[in-house]
Symmetry: C2
Subunit: 190 residues, 2 copies
DNA sequence: TTCACTTTTTGATATAGGTCAAAAGAAAGC
DNA sequence: GCTTTCTTTTGACCTATATCAAAAAGTGAA
C-alpha cells in the first residue's frame, strides 16, 4: 500500500495537503539485510513501508538478537523513542525483505505537525493503533503458553510467520528457537 | 497534580483554551473499591487522576483477576480500546485508593480534538508516552526473571509497590502471588 | 476482643520450557 | 558440483516458576 492512499484512508486530508505532505517524504529502495538504524545512534528518520518487510531488534546481555517488532507493508516503522525523543536508540532497525520505503526526518515531520492539524490527528491515530497492538502482544506474552503465543503470531502476522528465519520469530515471541521448532513439529503432525 | 497544570506543562495552550478545555471535564470524588468500567460495557469516559490510584484488570479463563495497568496521580486512565473504538471493554477499571478524578466523554473529547489543534498534539503526546511505557513493560515481562520484573516494578512505580495487595502486583508482573511473596522474602533477608 | 474473612507466607511437588551439544538440512560463494 | 556457513531439528538434562494445600498473619465489623 502506498503512502498517499494510506494517508487518505485515515484522515480527511485535502488533495493539496496530501501533495505537500508527500513532498516532505523521500522515497527509496532498500535491499534485504540493510540496517537503517543502529543501537546507540540517534534515529534520524521515520519510515513508511510501501512494500517489503522490516524488524526492530536489540542485543540482550548475552549478545543475542531479540526481535522486538515486525513491520509489514503499509505500516510506519521507527525506533520509536529514539526518533521521537531524539535519544540513542535501544534498537536496530533492519530490512528483512527488499523494500520500498518513504522516510521523513524529525524536523520535517514536526513542520508538518505544526502546519496541519490533520497531521496531528494522523499522528495520534497511528500511535493509538500501535499502542493497541503492543498491549495485545503484552497480554499474549504474559499469560499464554509458548504454543498459544505462536498461534497469536500466526493470527496477527500470518504473512510473516513463514518468510523470516525461525530464530527471529522465536525471540519475538519470547521463547528459544528450539522450543519454536518443537511447536511447529507438533502442529504439523496433527 | 491537577489537570490544569498538567495540560499547561505539556502543550502551549493559551489561558482561554485551557479554561474552555477544563469546562469539558467533570471533576468528581470516587471512593476506594469503586468500579468505573466493567468488562463487556462500552467505556463512556476517559479519566484524569488528580489524586488517588486506579488499576485496570481482566478475568482470565480461570476467572482470576489479572491486573493490566496501574494509574497513579497525574495520569490519564481508560479502558483504551473500549473508549477510543467504543467497543465492549475487555477490562475493568477500579479505584484502589480514594481519588479525585476529572472525566470526559468521547463526544466532548472529539469536540476538543476538532476545535483545538493543540489538543490533537496533547493526544499524540500522551499516547506516545503510554506507548513507550507499555513497550518497556513488554521487554521486562518478556526477558526478565520474576525477580528482575519485580525490581523493574519498584523502579517504575515505587509508590505503588507497597500500597496495593500483593496479588494485584503479582498478576501485573505475570507471576503468582506465592512467587512474589518469596521474592520479597529473599530481598528483605539481604 | 472475638469472629469471620481476606491476604500473605510456607512447604511439597510437578512441569513447561530453558540450556547445551550435536546432527541434519539449506543456502551461498567459488 | 563442492565447500563453507547459516539455519533448523533432535535429544538429554536441568531449573525457574507454577500448582496445590494448608498454616499464619492481618483487618474490620459487631
Amino acid at each position: 500500500m502506498n503512502l498517499f492512499d494510506f494517508l487518505k484512508a485515515l484522515v480527511p486530508f485535502t488533495k493539496e495537503e496530501l501533495e505537500d505532505i508527500l513532498r516532505h517524504f523521500k522515497k527509496e529502495t532498500v535491499a534485504k539485510n540493510q540496517i537503517l538504524v543502529r543501537q546507540g545512534e540517534v534515529s534520524k528518520s521515520l519510515y513508511f513501508i510501501e512494500s517489503g518487510l522490516g524488524r526492530s531488534y536489540y542485543l540482550n546481555q548475552a549478545g543475542k538478537e531479540i526481535t522486538q517488532w515486525f513491520f509489514g507493508s503499509g505500516k510506519f516503522m521507527a525506533s520509536a523513542d529514539s526518533f521521537f525523543q531524539q535519544c540513542p536508540s535501544l534498537y536496530y532497525i533492519e530490512i528483512l525483505e527488499d523494500a520500498v520505503i518513504y522516510s521523513i526526518t524529525k524536523e520535517k515531520l514536526d513542520e508538518l505537525f505544526d502546519t496541519y492539524p490533520n497531521m496531528e490527528k494522523l499522528g495520534r491515530l497511528v500511535t493509538t493503533e500501535m499502542l493497541t497492538k503492543v498491549v495485545n502482544k503484552l497480554n499474549a506474552i504474559q499469560f499464554q503458553t509458548a504454543k498459544e503465543r505462536y498461534e497469536y503470531m500466526l493470527a496477527e502476522f500470518p504473512d510473516i510467520a513463514y518468510q523470516v528465519p525461525l530464530g527471529h520469530i522465536a525471540s519475538y515471541l519470547g521463547m528459544t528457537q528450539e522450543t519454536l521448532s518443537r511447536i511447529r513439529k507438533s502442529n504439523s503432525s496433527k
